[in-house]
Amino acid sequence: MFWLFGKRFSFETRKYTSGIILNAGVTALVIAMLVVASSFLSASYRANGQQGPRIFSIMATASTLDLSLDMPRTVNVTCGISDYYPVEKVLLYYSTDFWKSRVSVAGTVLSSNLTGTYYQFTIPLLQVPETYLYFLWANNSVGYFSYADNQHYYYSILVQNENASVPFNAQDPKLLHVIQSMQIGYGNGTTTRNPAPFIYVELNETSPISLVLNGNPSDSWAFTGNRIYNLTLPMDLTVGTNLITLNVDQKRIFSFNFTVIYSPVPLNITSMNFANNSVVYNYMTNMTFSANDLVQAHVTTTGPQVGTWNSTTYATSFTVPWTFGQVYGNYTIGVSINDHYGGSFTETYSVSFQKSEFPWIHVDSPANGSTVVASNITITANFTEACAAVASNLNTTTSTPIIQNVTNVTLPALALMNGWNYIQVNATNLANKTTSVLLRVNQVLYSTNNGSRDLYVVPGGTFHLVVNVTSLVVPNGTLRYALVNSSGLTCYSVSLNITGGELGYYTMKASIPIPLATIDMFYNYTLQFNTTAIIFNEDGQSFHVLVSYLYQDTEGPTVSEEGFSPGVNSITSSNYVTIILDLNDLTGVKNASIEYATNPSLATPTKANMTFTGEPVSNGIGDWVVTLPPYPNSTTVYFKVLMYDVLNNSASFTGSYSVHDVLNPNTDQIIPGVINQTFNKAINGAIGTLIAIMVMILSIFIVIFITINDQNVKREIFRESDRLFTLKHVCELSEKSIRHFYYIEQGLQDLIGYGIGIVMGFVVLAPVFVWIIKITLISWTYNFQTLFFLSYSALGSWVGLLLVLFVLSGLLIKMLQVDRHVAKMGH
């Protein structure tokens, strides 16, 4: 019997080769679908566990602004934004009509730090009184967004009358939802001389309203059918405090009280330029008067020059052209005003317009052309008459405050800059005549110790000049020296920035033209640099130094910068990690090697050489790189880099990185939870649908597979009918023997077909399929793929178990089919 097995086995290879191909494909497809399904589950999980940018530290200029003359016309709102993903858009939405409409304002970046990026938004204040509601909105590059709306109450800015005991539009949410805007007269609690103020009411929807004045309702004050009312009170206010009640009939009746003080006080006027019986030295172009109510004005001027002026509108202030010309003398100016309600008032001003001379200035200190070792200077001067005095540094464009009406003055300290400063002192008299004096002052920033200069030379054509700074007049500045060798042929300028005002030794560096080819001769070598050099500072002080020094590099290389590719927070178990170190050394880096392991003590490490990628290659200064293999998820890789310079001085550098297949838990600024329910449902719906489709495809595939397998077995057995006939009727084998023969044969062939096929599918085809899916997914979804956890290896264990069950089930099905058909054919 086994002889026949052997014959058939080598003859009918198509049975198990087709099995190998079929099962390899089936296995790979099943695994690929499982991997994709797993990744979708992962995406779903992560979609539920992660949201848009974090919005924090929301601050506005003020939550309540009082109506006043200096009230700002804009309000700035700032907030911080942070996210793991790049933030694409940050907006502020505000509304002045309780979200019937809204306006978006784009943020401008103020600053960034480790906490996040801070944005500023500017809301224009368009109308008062007004309530501004706003919330902040941000989205990132992977499609998530979030917003901060103060728990659905919205952030708000309330503009109100500063004298109102009860805010005009108090933020009663129910009331605010009804009355959107209301202006009455000059505002709640204000005083008016107008007995019939104008009333403006804007509601959120069409509603009846009624007004009650001082507790007296009037039918004629009930209005319906509008949302916006422009009303004039049909009855005059009474003198004193008037209580006006606005009733809004909308679902329930809201009553809203405000007061207006009607005070028909006498008119009054004030000159903004001169007092009565005053002397005016200045030639003015205009005279300005201010009234205590809206008035019309009539101005007459008598004296050496005569003129009249009439206003055409009612205003609280008015400006009258100056009518005196340059004619000096005594003038009388009459101002008559009258208001809307018949009130009038007249005021007369006597003004003497006199000629003025230019004042004289004498600067007591500092002396012109003096040298100052100080950060600022105090100027003392006296004048021939009372003047407004000011000093300005023309170099720094800074000025002292103006000191008014003085004949001698010590001006506040004026900041100086290093070097020569040109200071202009101005004195302006009451006739607006100005005299200027220009001073020149030289500021020296520092002084140094004569005996504390030192000079040494390092390879690469750089000498170092060490200076002991003994005193500084400013915290920050620049020391400048010139270095001239004794031959007098070469001059090198040297400079050094000093910061922080610390005294002590500073090293200045300058390049000297020493060819690189001769650098090596400086190691352990005494360099004679023409015996001496002269060093002098900008203050003219000069010093001789000996330029004859021994240089020796005794330090190993140092790491200027450490980098990883991919980024240290983005390393997954599928990544090869490239470590990039920027190495530096005075004499050059010879080589660098790395030892790495997954234990902090670096026991039994793996070693590798690092490769220099910079230019020039000769001195090894620049990036050294090495690529480490992938490590499993949650592994921390520790490494130690050994570096040698060209003089064999060594140094080491240690570091580590962690592998995270999911979002790095060490990454801060991540908030769990999806904020937008619609978005959440959309994602889950899409992912759920995809999973359902995949399950259906898998189910249909299994049914088709079983059906095809059954048909194949049936077809195969029918094809085998001649063989069965031969075995039974020619060879006269028993039915039992024939059945055993087929069990063994089918089992052997299927084992080969399933076994090798599944192994090939698992090891070769499935990773290829997963790779193709992964590449496709990445190319199709841009950054969104970071949500998907497409890991083939992580599925290995339970996929292996499923495959074993799959194989056993397949074999069982096959045996049942063989049994059924063989039994049928055997008979």
Partner: protein, 241 residues
């Protein structure tokens, strides 16, 4: 001379179930009865031809006569069950050579016990060698012994099956339309081979065929034809003589 019967059919009715195919299992079936109330004696040493149109039940009758299938009704008796088969189907295993196919029953089955020892003890074909070589030469298959069936002609394969039956020394050889896929020369050659097996080696031949009776008369000793669910004798050389 009256010959003794080797197979006797008494009032035999043949029926079988015809199934309509479905995706996973037959969807329906019906009973088909091609032959009814058949009485037939196959005599020792005769060359009996059974002819009839397609679907008339020739092969079913052959299967009942050879005991491969049981009759629906009636009784079939055999003097001795010693049958060889030559068929239009490929009763040769494709993975074996012609020689291995011929000797297959001797590797296992009843022959392996009875004659396996003689097969193993001598050179190539053992004690069967002389007999086999006679058959190989007589039926012109010595050139294809080491070939696989798939590389041989249909006529060669049929002759190999005939040689296997002769080698196993079977008394009755059933042939089910062996000439089916042969050309006219091949059919004549194959019929002559059966005639040779009948006359020279004394085998009883039961040949199911669609050959014309005029052709059959030259080889078969008796011919019957299936007509109207029964058998009609169309020639009998013994009675004619």
């Amino acid at each position: 001379m009256s010959q003794k019967w080797v197979i006797k059919l008494e009032n035999v009715t043949i029926s079988y179930r015809v199934e309509k195919p479905g995706a996973l299992r037959p969807r329906s079936s019906k009973i088909f009865t091609p032959l009814e109330g058949i009485f037939l004696d196959v005599l020792e040493g005769e060359f009996l031809s059974i002819s009839g149109p397609n679907g008339s039940g020739k092969t079913s009758l052959l299967n009942v006569m050879s005991g491969v299938k049981s009759p629906f009704k009636g009784r079939v008796s055999w003097q001795e069950k010693s049958f060889g088969f030559v068929s239009q189907d490929q009763f040769l295993l494709p993975e074996l050579t012609i020689a291995e196919n011929i000797l297959l029953p001797f590797y296992f089955g009843k022959e392996s016990h009875e004659q396996g020892s003689v097969l193993d003890t001598h050179d190539r074909y053992g004690e069967l060698g002389q007999v086999l070589e006679t058959y190989f030469a007589r039926f012109k298959i010595e050139d294809i012994l080491e070939k696989r069936p798939g590389t041989c002609s249909i006529g060669q394969q049929q002759r190999a099956l005939l040689v296997r039956a002769l080698t196993m020394d079977r008394k009755i050889i059933f042939a089910d339309e062996p000439e089916q896929n042969l050309d006219s020369d091949g059919r004549i050659e194959l019929l002559e081979s059966f005639l040779e097996a009948n006359r020279e080696f004394g085998k009883t031949i039961v040949l199911v065929t669609q050959e014309h009776p005029d052709v059959l008369k030259r080889y078969a000793t008796r011919g019957v034809k299936i007509r109207d669910l029964g058998l009609v004798e169309i020639f009998n050389s013994e009675s004619a003589a």
